[in-house]
């Protein structure tokens, strides 16, 4: 039992926090210092949904607009290629979105894949990871207005650019007390789409979790995103200049030692960085997790 608990401690925090009800794309993921051993894997099938008519523009001004809705269905996976290198994928994901005034646009989202390397083990494991966002999604995808003819709005399911996310993460288990904490920092190197260059971003956060009665994992994380420099004024669908602070609550009920049912609640706030260029939606998520530990 203790061994199982210890193993569980090593991977619960890697479940993705997908709260990105930005009209832009960009999954927001918790990170940890732990990596998989060779042949181990973890994956999660996840559905998230949210909607809002409160949009914070590029100047951080809150505006009431037509209601925007978005849902995502996707996979998050980790696989231990070696005892030190873990393969990560934040997809494939399928996204549907619309304004209350438009038809729904659905399509595959961009695909972030990458590797995580174990730098240090021990009581404070440290990892470094590089994830590349492959722009698989159609970068311009116009939804027709259902009320007014010949009127449309661009609702792409991807931002049309390659992103390179470099993440440094550290964790600590308070074993035998079933509690852990992780902290991470990600530099998001953004490129360009159709000659429009995007500003790089810093994403960082901390997460703490606790296991209750060997059956339920509860975690709370806070994270923020900041933009380097002054972004150009570009169409607001590509996440340029998007900033926020957010919290994520997660509960996972272990149905078996390997299989879990997960629910999440994600919400933006202005605690560290004010909300900029996003729809201020609370995002609810449901998922199934499965892991193989050796």
């Amino acid at each position: 039992m203790v061994t199982g608990l210890k193993k569980a401690l090593i991977n619960k925090y890697v479940a993705p926090i997908l709260g990105a009800l930005l009209i832009s794309v960009g999954s927001v993921n918790a990170q940890s210092g732990w990596t998989m051993k060779k042949g181990e894997y973890f994956f999660k099938v996840n559905y998230t949904t949210g909607s809002s008519d409160k949009y914070f523009d590029i100047n951080g001004i809150e505006r009431t607009t037509a209601e925007f809705s978005q849902s995502n269905f996707g996979i998050y996976g980790e696989y231990g290629l070696t005892d030190k290198i873990t393969l990560l994928t934040h997809g494939p994901s399928f996204r549907s979105q619309s304004f209350e005034t438009t038809e729904t646009i659905s399509g595959i989202a961009d695909l972030p894949v990458g590797l995580k390397y174990k730098v240090l083990g021990g009581t404070i494991p440290l990892s470094i990871g590089l994830v590349v966002d492959i722009p698989l999604a159609k970068a311009d995808n116009f939804a027709s207005n259902t009320e007014i003819a010949n009127t449309r709005v661009n609702l792409p399911t991807g931002d049309g650019e390659w992103n390179y996310r470099l993440t440094l993460a550290a964790s600590h288990s308070f074993y035998p007390v079933p509690v852990y904490i992780s902290a991470y920092s990600t530099y998001n190197y953004r490129t360009e789409y159709e000659s429009t260059s995007f500003n790089d971003q810093l994403i960082a956060g901390v997460e703490g979790g606790v296991n209750i009665a060997d059956k339920v994992w509860l975690s709370l994380s806070i994270q923020f995103q900041d933009t380097f420099g002054d972004p150009e004024v570009v169409d607001f669908v590509r996440g340029e200049g998007t900033e926020f602070t957010a919290i994520n609550l997660s509960a996972t009920y272990m149905i078996t030692e390997q299989l879990g049912a997960n629910a999440t609640f994600f919400s933006y706030n202005d605690l560290i960085f004010d909300r900029v260029n996003l729809y201020n939606a609370n995002v609810l998520g449901l998922g199934i997790t499965y892991e193989l530990k050796k």
Binding site: D57, T102, A143, N145, N150, N277
Partner: protein, 149 residues
């Protein structure tokens, strides 16, 4: 011999058909002004809604006396977001009142591209309209306004 005569006759008809004709077909696009526009009112866009809206807008009449609204060649707004509607407005703020026929607004047209565009104003614009407003219809956000002077 008869077949040869028919062939030459057909060939001659074809040549006649292809020859230059003094008459010229002129297509008149009623959505475009005829001749130069005599400007009556002009304004410059102020960006709103976190957009880059800018450029000039004019209201004037062409040589036929038809009134047009012209977005200048320097006109820009967030067209990558989608269709942007152009309204005449009695104020700086988009103020719909559909229950009463939107007395403070008049939809002029919409744009999907930056740059020069003309919109025929028929009937002519009432003097109560003091501003031109750029409105993202699907989202419901004002992208810019220009005061007419």
């Amino acid at each position: 011999m008869k077949k040869l005569a028919v062939f030459f006759l057909a060939l001659s008809v074809a040549f006649v058909g292809c020859s230059d004709d003094d008459s010229e077909t002129i297509t008149i696009d009623s959505s475009q002004p005829t001749g130069n526009l005599t400007v009556q009112q002009t304004g410059s866009f102020v960006a709103e809604g976190g957009t880059n809206s800018s450029g000039t807008v004019d209201i004037g009449t062409d040589t036929q006396g038809v009134q047009f609204l012209r977005l200048g060649s320097d006109f820009e707004t967030a067209v990558a977001t989608g269709t942007v509607a152009v309204y005449l407005s009695t104020s700086v703020v988009y103020t719909p009142d559909p229950m009463n026929g939107n007395p403070d607004l008049r939809l002029v047209g919409s744009v999907n591209e930056n740059g020069e565009a003309f919109f025929k104003l028929e009937p002519t614009a009432e003097s109560k309209f003091t501003h031109v407003i750029l409105w993202c219809t699907s989202v419901g956000v004002q992208f810019g306004n220009a005061e007419l002077n």
